[in-house]
């Protein structure tokens, strides 16, 4: 393994998350947690005109869960819930090691988490934000 387990993308999103803040205009929120490690985030979305107009997350967690949630919000803000669901499915596919190179490009910076599949203990951290998103979209429908 390299000197640095975490690449620059993850480190940057962890140290300087764009979307770690409250969202006063949120129309829906959902809390997700990893009971085994104590990571917990709450995802906030502002739905307007059938799209995810804005989003944020609050809470605490490891670099993997924090960076993954931040990257996810970069990807889904401005998209429809349907598009967000498809991205979540693609992310799961990547974690499962079944993604094609073309699909990987769609995930943009989230591709930095591709190798997490090799660390089963951290998969839950990487998917925490995405799982919370899926629950939120389900209940918001």
């Amino acid at each position: 393994m390299s000197d640095n387990f975490y690449d620059e993308v993850l480190i940057d999103h962890n140290l300087h998350p764009q979307h770690l803040h409250d969202l006063p205009g949120a129309t829906c929120s959902h809390a997700g947690m990893n009971p085994s490690c104590g990571d917990e985030i709450t995802l906030h979305l502002e739905m307007r005109g059938g799209i995810i107009a804005d989003g944020s997350f609050t809470g605490i967690g490891c670099a993997i869960s924090q960076a993954s949630a931040d990257i996810m919000l970069d990807l889904i803000i401005g998209r429809t819930p349907e598009e967000a669901r498809k991205l979540a499915a693609l992310f799961r596919k990547m974690i499962g090691g079944e993604i094609t190179p073309e699909e990987l490009e769609i995930l943009e910076e989230a591709g930095a988490l591709q190798n997490i599949a090799r660390m089963p203990a951290r998969v839950k951290c990487a998917t925490l934000g995405w799982r919370t998103l899926e629950h939120l979209l389900e209940t918001a429908d």
Binding site: M1, Y6, G38
Partner: protein, 405 residues
């Protein structure tokens, strides 16, 4: 520090570059233990305690010799006081189910040390819920110290049992169990001691401590996984009903009921783990051959070295204070701005195994105000190079997470 004890442990030959600092979670196994368990299955395996033939007698002897070895190891008065279980968790559950459900009633109180591992906390929570007994916690200070005054103040005429570990799996601090036992007994309170982190590392004598129950796991003391011990004073065990029902724990059975077997078989229903017990016997022989003088000397020296180095590293906080003498082979720590899971991942990328999380002690982490921590834990087979590598990596953690660039 000259002797290379790692040579006794095949896993270190398999992974020569690995630094194993997670012995509080489970210890590595010496070749002597692995060989003893294998030899049992090759040479003496039969269902013990029932077969009327030579091989079964051998299996029975192997099992009962292991029990006698455990008795001697912890200084119990009689082998009838040694019950084999799967691990410390099962031993503690056995007490809560058997003693607890027959002796406790609404109005009684259970006292549990706040730093206990979940396995010495959840059985008591469950027992309190089912019997209507009240559950109270004994609080420690931020260094993990429990005082006699605090214990005296927490005991009431209704306190029936007090549960505490001899060595905390988070702080590594030794509690004064013999003093606590005396105070409990003056109050008519029983004391349950979790010895999972102490029995492998310091000499433990149940009669000197005068504890009513002691629980520990084989796998943390160089024995195989799946074998553990419950020590209980004979008078208490005798009164307790069985925990599990089945074969091997009865004298005779009728349509209406059964006459239960003598101690300790009353608590060992079903076919027992003879291979594990034989492995535990070999582990005890191994520990005795190395000697606690050597084990304690090495572990204390390595712990002191680690703490002295760690407290000089900026942004590193040792949970339970900077006094090396307070940590017995266990040093739990935090690094400012870095989640413990990320700390462990960085250590792993340098082939160093440490633990991260709440170490099965969530209420303690709430009590001391941190959500989770990282923990390095030693055994006598570790050496100075292991600690040096650990310290070298610890110094790089913040930089590798993007701080101070």
């Amino acid at each position: 520090m000259q002797q290379n004890w790692k040579a006794d442990f095949p896993v270190f030959a398999q992974f020569p570059d690995m630094v194993y600092l997670d012995s509080a979670a489970t210890s590595q196994k010496p070749a002597a233990v692995i060989a003893a368990e294998a030899a049992y299955y090759r040479e003496a395996n039969a269902n013990p305690l029932r077969g009327l033939y030579d091989l079964s007698v051998r299996a029975t002897d192997a099992y009962e010799n292991a029990r006698e070895a455990v008795r001697g190891f912890i200084g119990a008065a009689s082998a009838r006081e040694i019950v084999f279980t799967r691990n410390a968790t099962e031993s503690l559950n056995l007490i809560a189910y058997s003693w607890g459900r027959s002796e406790l009633h609404s109005g009684d109180e259970i006292l549990v040390a706040i730093s206990e591992h979940h396995s010495n906390m959840l059985p008591w929570q469950s027992l309190a819920r089912e019997t209507g007994a009240a559950l109270h916690y004994l609080e420690c200070d931020s260094s993990g110290v429990y005082t006699e005054e605090a214990l005296r103040a927490a005991l009431t005429p209704n306190t029936k049992i007090f549960a505490i570990a001899q060595i905390s799996n988070v702080f590594g601090r030794i509690s004064a169990i013999a003093d606590f036992a005396r105070i409990c007994h003056e109050n008519g309170t029983l004391i349950v001691c979790d010895g999972a982190q102490s029995v492998p590392h310091i000499p433990v004598n149940v009669q000197a401590l005068d504890v009513d129950f002691l629980a520990f796991s084989g796998h943390k003391m160089f024995a195989p996984m799946g074998i553990g011990v419950l020590y209980g004073k004979e008078a208490l065990l005798r009164k307790m009903p069985p925990f599990l029902y089945g074969g091997e724990m009865i004298e005779y059975v009728t349509r209406e009921g059964a006459e239960y077997a003598e101690l300790p078989h009353k608590f060992e229903a079903g076919t027992v783990n003879v291979g594990g017990a034989v492995g535990l016997h070999a582990a005890i022989d191994y520990v005795n051959a190395v000697g606690f003088a050597e084990i304690v000397r090495r572990e204390d020296a390595l712990t002191a070295f680690a703490v002295q180095e760690m407290r000089q590293i900026p942004h590193v906080t040792i949970i339970g204070g900077d006094d090396p003498a307070a940590h017995h082979g266990i040093v739990t720590f935090a690094v400012d701005g870095v989640h413990p899971h990320d700390i462990a991942a960085i250590f792993d990328s340098d082939s160093i195994a440490i633990r991260a999380g709440h170490h099965c002690a969530q209420p303690l982490h709430q009590h001391i105000g941190v959500s989770s921590t990282a923990r390095m834990s030693l055994a006598f087979y570790n050496d100075e190079q292991d600690v040096e590598k650990f310290v070298d990596t610890l110094k790089t953690v913040r930089r590798r997470m993007g701080f101070e660039r």
